[in-house]
């Protein structure tokens, strides 16, 4: 592999990622499934958002020891699901409190919160569809912050954990 090619494939980091043609169909489907699973959990769990979150956690645990590509997407999907589930849970609980108590003077603030949560849910849906399609094609897709955290967990951490600096093969000094 020429230095130019290596530069292109590792983006200057030295980290070699699996390319779409190198991944098995099973890996791609499982990675896509992470986002589909999120959708199913999101749809079924909307009245009780924490149920959806639990389903997401289970799916992640089933896939975390499979290939790093699948684990990366499962972990990214789960991390993204957490804030969305918390937002939805807050909206549901607040709604119940409003219905049970006589706090209708908070209705406007609640409406604002629902719109706020709704916009995040819409963004989550759009970006999850994009990530789902990319994963099916064997590509990486990075959400802001969560993509970086997931990448660090599955493509950086093993190098650090298994190869401490004293045992790493390094070129001669001065080279």
């Amino acid at each position: 592999m020429s230095p130019a090619m290596e530069q292109q494939e590792t983006n200057g980091t030295g980290i070699v990622l699996p390319q779409p043609q190198e991944l098995t169909e099973r890996e791609k489907e499982d990675a896509m499934g992470a986002y589909l699973m999120m959708f199913a959990a999101w749809g079924a769990g909307f009245p009780l958002p924490m149920v959806g979150l639990i389903a997401s956690v289970i799916y992640f645990h089933l896939n975390k020891k499979s290939s790093p590509f699948t684990a990366f997407h499962s972990y990214q999907g789960l991390l993204t699901h957490i804030p969305i589930s918390l937002l939805n849970a807050a909206a549901v609980i607040w709604g119940i409190v409003l219905v049970l108590g006589k706090y209708s003077h908070h209705l406007r603030i609640y409406a604002m919160f629902c719109v706020f949560a709704g916009i995040w849910n819409a963004l989550y849906m759009v970006y999850s569809i994009i990530a789902c399609v990319k994963a099916r094609k064997g590509k990486f897709y990075y959400f802001w912050v969560f993509g970086r955290l997931s990448f660090a967990k599955y493509y950086l951490a093993p190098t650090r954990a298994t190869a401490p600096s004293s045992e790493r093969n390094l070129p001669p000094e001065g080279m």
Binding site: K102, S104, H105, R108, A111, M112, F113, V115, F116, I119, W120, W144, V145, R148, A152
Partner: protein
């Protein structure tokens, strides 16, 4: 070193996006404020005749099952206060009636159709007819905003109200309604709107809105004018935010600036003397 910087940048993007979405949510709710308000007024589709039917039923129920005060002096005094206020209520569709009912509750309640019930202990605690006017002006605000029927529709549903109007389950439902209304809690927005309406009505009627504040101060247990060891006053459990409302009334007094107040020519001591006693055991 690139990783932390990139992470910080993405966190900053996320934070900015969160702020933008929060702003957008605020703007969206503001923009749909009018349609929301219209939706909330869905009760306006409830015919006025329903309210009148309910009012007739309630009046009969009160006459038969409550101690409606029948004292000419008290009735004349209350009517005089009511008439002054009603003379300045523009384009009302209601025939607003005020009845005084003997009770142990310090409260005033508005029923559908413009029926205002003042309980004797509250009347006793007013120091002047102007203070009664302040209470009535607030309750007239509830009448004009159709708050009682909104509350009934909200709690019982349109079909139940219709069955009450048609007389199907009228008697037991009316009894429940009367009991519920004594403790009815409107929303803060409804109370604020009724306050604003009442304060303006007072000013239009040449009564200083500060009487409303004085009445509240006199009743509130934790104000300088309020007396300690006073039994629970139901008026405040159904009309919360007392201090904000006192401030609002004083602000209205300044804003409306009633230069020449027309005091009622009523011997208020004599009126109160004729009331059946609750607290002093007379």
């Amino acid at each position: 070193m690139k990783q932390p910087k990139a992470m910080a940048r993405e966190l900053l993007f996320l934070a900015t996006l969160t702020v933008l979405i929060a702003g957008a949510s605020y703007a969206i709710v503001k923009l749909v404020r009018v349609p929301l308000a219209k939706a909330a007024k869905g009760v306006d589709s409830v015919p006025l005749s329903w309210e009148m039917h309910l009012k007739d039923g309630l009046k009969k129920y009160l006459e038969n099952d409550s101690k409606v005060l029948d004292d000419k002096v008290i009735t004349a005094a209350v009517d005089s206060v009511r008439n002054r206020l009603l003379a300045h209520v523009a384009d009302t569709v209601y025939k607003i009636e005020v009845v005084v009912v003997e009770s142990d509750q310090v409260n005033a309640v508005t029923f559908p159709g413009g029926l205002i019930v003042v309980f004797t202990p509250l009347l006793r605690l007013t120091s002047s007819p102007e203070e009664l006017a302040a209470v009535l002006a607030h309750e007239i605000g509830h009448v004009e905003h159709r708050d009682p029927i909104k509350q009934i529709v909200k709690e019982l549903g349109v079909s139940t109200v219709l069955s009450m109007v048609n007389g199907g389950r009228a008697a037991p439902m009316l009894e429940t309604m009367v009991k519920d209304f004594v403790n009815v809690q409107y929303t803060r927005e409804q109370e604020r709107a009724a306050d604003q309406y009442g304060l303006r009505l007072l000013a239009d009627s040449h009564i200083n809105p500060s009487h409303f504040a004085k009445f509240m101060e006199n009743l509130a247990p934790d104000t300088a004018a309020g007396k300690k060891d006073r039994p629970e006053i139901e008026y405040f459990s159904t009309h919360p935010d007392v201090h904000a409302r006192i401030d609002s009334a004083y602000a209205a007094a300044k804003r409306f600036d009633v230069k020449t107040e027309k005091r009622f020519n009523i011997d208020w001591r004599n009126v109160k003397r004729r009331l059946p006693s609750v607290f002093d055991g007379n």
